[in-house]
Symmetry: C2
Subunit: 638 residues, 2 copies
């Protein structure tokens, strides 16, 4: 049996656009993700709500909060609430919970109480600085808040069937539509922190209201035009544009119109949310210039500015990008939200074009940079995800800027959406997670059942169930990390010599009981960085399947920067079911540099000596859950 | 012939205390330093004066400068003037110059015009904020200014014989003595930036006035006591001590009494000036606790926090020290003034105890970290001396905080003082610089003539001239960098098997015509850093004689971080008389990593390939004087 080729290149291209399944259509029933999702429901959502209460998120007015007061949360604190609403609503969609449902109703009533007669709705600009509405769109996150509110409302509507929040939000969106745009009398503003753009596409998709799509397109198109809105706005409030604290509009990606941008710059989360909206808009109405801009930016990111963990953002200074190949490990920013944004963007690109490059990156971000952001017990978070630690970096229960915790929660609660996409002729399997996906292809229901111990083992079996036989293409992603895969359909081997953009496409008349078995050989791989990544010179990272590994002090009784892993050393992995929720541990015979004879000397004319050391590595996502100590991803080879 | 042993350990110890020769007693006539000193006279001193004029150093009052005005120099701008006076006076002492003499007189008249009726003398607190005298000794450098004024006055007196500045300064010092101290009614303050302490010892030595020595001792002893003066002072001016911008009194070494300090911390220049004063005080009246504190601090510095260039200070944040082994190269601070301070301190320690460890460090600082601070033409300066540059670090003509240029000038103008020390029984030769030293040993004049091409060649011949034969010990430093030295006296070989604290001591009845020949074999050495200096892992530095080398982009047509110098590669050096004033260049067969096949890839499962590259290195002190470009001291070995 051989892989099916499309009958023409054009047919093939058309076929590659597909839509993601809703997370409600996919069950997660594996040993890797399912316990994490359960923890979010059982622990994260309740403790997060507690934290918001403790931090007076709902009684700002009563407490007379003013700007500059200490300690009050950031101007955009309402987005913690709305992301929590989104996460809780996503959970309700698959796991009904009357108590949570009631708490959501109560929270929505609180939100309703803020809404102004004209539809405007923002906590800060109602309770703290009502006179400053739309006075500083560059910095004050007003439309960013609106975006998360909109995403919450769509999730709530879809998860509960209730229109309570959606109706509130549509009133607000209508107000926004009356306020912003090119038409005479409207403001020509847009948001310093993108988010509204992708949210309006979601709202359009949920309601069918074209105005929302048009408004999103306006925000994306207007961004970065001259005369620059943020300049004008600054002058209007008596400020000098040149005094912008971030110094450059690259910070918020408004230095140029998006269509003219060629490099990923500035604040990483802002960039990811903006590019996600760009992909959304291209999906809704194809636009070559916008598509090419996204491609350029994606290519720049992955070839110059991406951590191996799927983290992005090299410095805390701008919470974002710096220079090409500047990827410091100890001081990496790699905000949890930025990895989430990277997953969001690649998820959208995947729907434009089922190219496994996007799925590889989606997987890298989800299994590493995003997942490291939350503790196994679901109650502590990393904001920053460095690739090296001297032992002083630990997850905590909350942040003054608490964007990451609810962002991780909503990502986990919507995990199912990332597994499959489908169109009229093809199903694409992007991620390998045990569970069941219910699809519709050309009007026919298809059920796909995955059985796998992924990511610990690369064997995946897919069982197809459908009412009556039907012909379609089933596309299975062969991950970029996999050098050796075997595929069979009903026991018959399928040669994997003609992948289509990284997918093995099997077109046949499928019938219930068809069994597809994929085996992705999963040895421990050594990964090297481009020679211009100065911090990784003479270093290797270990990866097994989609998981990037790291060394922790608790497993290695020598300073981690003393460890040398020879090129020839055999890397072995074994599964430890009792350790950290069950993980595959990597071990290898290595050496450790000796510093004992150096105690009083800083410089010598002889190089340091070494002694044998058995190296132990664990998956990066699970570090900092035992004895506090050092960590490093990049291991010296020499 | 063998080296002479002291008759008892106690005798040996006593013999090791010695006094530095004045710079006027030593001529510098070599090809390395003499041209640099000439350039300071011909170019640095005049252009520096021009810069001070251009920056309105002498007409602040007329211009109505106020604090916070932009751009005005820092509160301690007068120290640029007084350090210039010091440098110019040092020059006059050996090279009379009527025009410069007149300019000094004019400058001293300006200084006199500032002096208040009570003796107080400070530019800022006379012309800008007269109401704030002694209100913020923590931050505002008042006594630091006083210290540099005192040093200038001593140099002027010694260089010209004129008492004009010395008399002004003694009036001020008397005022300070009436103002500060333990006695009832006196302030218990001391300076946030040490300098007054060592200056008062100088003034004591010049005038014999014991009160100045006592006041210096008070300032050193009072520092860091509880209740903390800077706390009290902050409260008195309505400030909160906890709001101290530097966050910790480690910044100015007042976190503990000096006797209790164990680690070099905080601002590097402050530390060096303080420890210099500590050594001065121990020299004047031996104090075991103070001596031991200095030893501890010295040991901590050299074993944990010293750059190979003799630079100190790992970060711009506090212009100072961070953590043990934290010695980043690209972001090294290594202020020129800090290397000067290191030389000052070790010069003083050397007079307490002629131990070549101190002379090694003095030499390292002078030939590398200090000398890199000034361009070959004497008109441009580094404030910061990193050990790696991406090509954007260049010397400039002046700084808003211009402490380094005149500090380098006064250091070069006083270079002669570092060469010899002597006591009644011994002469110590610390540095090898061609020229003549005129010493007095037990009342008898001795002339030592050095002939050498040091630092390019390790052959040194010393000719002794004296009126009649005399017995004394001539001690020749065998530098720590030298693994193979040969010594002869009048053609007779002296075995070097019994060095005394790093010095070969030859005791004999010396007579005119005696000839000592020392040969210090000077191959290119590979130097390795302690394995805990993370930035230098897998790296080697090249040193030849006292000179640390570096790679520059202009000599190496590949990115410098691509270069790999194999352990086995032969390092060759040759002298290039036309290059950069004449330097020995190091070359070696190396390799360069290839990044061509990586252009679009950030991570790969195969390590990068290499091609042959001939490495060229030049002395660090002379970098950034050709095509602007990259530089690095630490070269990857693998």
């Amino acid at each position: 049996m051989t892989l099916s080729s499309p009958s023409s290149a054009r047919q093939a291209e058309a076929r590659r656009s597909s839509n993601a399944l809703s997370h409600t259509a996919v069950t997660i029933e594996d040993a890797f993700w399912a316990p994490r999702l359960r923890t979010v429901r059982d622990n994260t959502l309740p403790t997060m709500y507690e934290q918001m209460k403790l931090n007076h998120y709902f009684d700002a007015e009563k407490r007379g909060w003013k700007r500059g007061m200490h300690p009050i949360p950031y101007v955009f604190w309402e987005t913690d609430i709305t992301k929590w609403v989104e996460a809780a609503s996503l959970s309700l969609a698959t796991h009904p919970d009357a108590k949570l449902d009631a708490l959501l109703d109560e929270t929505i009533e609180f939100i309703r109480s803020i809404q102004q007669p004209d539809g405007y709705l923002n906590l800060w600009f109602t309770e703290v600085e009502p006179e400053k509405r739309w006075s500083n769109m560059r910095d004050l996150h007003e439309l960013y808040c609106a975006g998360h509110l909109i995403e919450a409302s769509v999730a709530h509507f879809q998860g509960t069937g209730k229109r309570s929040l959606l109706d509130i939000v549509c009133r607000y969106a209508d107000y926004l539509d009356r306020t912003f745009g090119l038409e005479e009398g409207k403001k020509r503003g847009y948001s310093g922190h993108p988010e509204i753009e992708l949210a309006l596409v979601k709202l359009y998709r949920a309601t069918g209201e074209q105005r929302y799509l048009k408004l999103s397109q306006y925000f994306v198109d207007e961004r970065g035009k001259q005369p620059h809105y943020f300049d004008q706005e600054a002058r209007e409030r008596g400020d000098t544009p040149e005094n912008f604290w971030a110094r450059t509009y690259e910070y918020n990606q408004s230095h140029l119109p998006v269509r003219e941008q060629t490099e990923v710059v500035g604040h990483a989360v802002r960039a990811m949310y903006l590019y996600s909206a760009v992909a959304d808009l291209v999906k809704e109405q194809y636009d070559e210039a916008l598509f090419q801009a996204g491609e350029r930016l994606w290519h720049h990111l992955v070839s110059k500015r991406l951590y191996i963990t799927g983290g992005i953002g090299s410095t805390a200074k701008n919470e974002g990008f710096t220079e090409d190949y500047d990827l410091p490990n100890l001081t990496a920013y790699a905000e949890s939200c930025a990895s989430i944004g990277l997953a969001m963007w690649n998820h959208r690109l995947l729907q434009l074009d089922a190219d496994s490059r996007y799925a590889d990156l989606l997987e890298r971000a989800l299994y590493n940079g995003m997942l490291s952001g939350i503790s196994l017990d679901g109650s502590k978070y990393f904001y920053v995800n460095p690739l090296e630690s001297k032992g002083d970096h630990h997850r905590v229960g909350w942040f003054k800027c608490a964007c990451c915790p609810p962002n991780i929660a909503r990502t986990l609660m919507s995990l199912g959406q990332y597994v499959y996409t489908a169109n009229d002729t093809d199903i694409f399997t992007h991620l390998y997670i045990q569970g069941t996906g219910k699809l519709s292809i050309a009007g026919r229901d298809v059920t796909l059942r995955q059985e796998t111990h992924y990511p610990w083992d690369g064997a995946v079996s897919l069982a197809v169930t459908l009412a009556e036989p039907a012909t379609f293409g089933l596309n299975l992603r062969i991950p970029g990390w996999c050098q050796d895969a075997q595929l069979s359909v009903n026991g018959e081997t399928v040669a994997l010599d003609q992948l289509q953009k990284g997918y093995a496409r099997i077109e046949k008349r499928w019938q219930s009981g068809d069994q597809v078995v994929l085996n992705l050989t999963m040895p421990v791989a050594r990964v090297y960085a481009h020679p211009d990544v100065r911090e990784d010179i003479n270093c290797v990272a270990l990866q097994r399947g989609p998981l990037v590994y790291c060394l922790e002090g608790t497993d290695n009784a020598v300073p981690l920067h003393h460890i040398r892993l020879p090129e020839a050393a055999t890397l072995e992995s074994h599964f430890e079911p009792e350790l950290l929720g069950g993980i595959a541990v990597i071990q290898a015979p290595a050496t450790a540099v000796d510093s004992t004879d150096w105690s009083d000397t800083l410089y010598k004319t002889t190089p340091p000596q070494s002694h044998p050391h058995t190296l132990t590595a664990i998956p990066y996502y699970v570090w900092d859950q035992r004895q506090p100590g050092e960590m490093r991803v990049w291991i010296y080879t020499k």
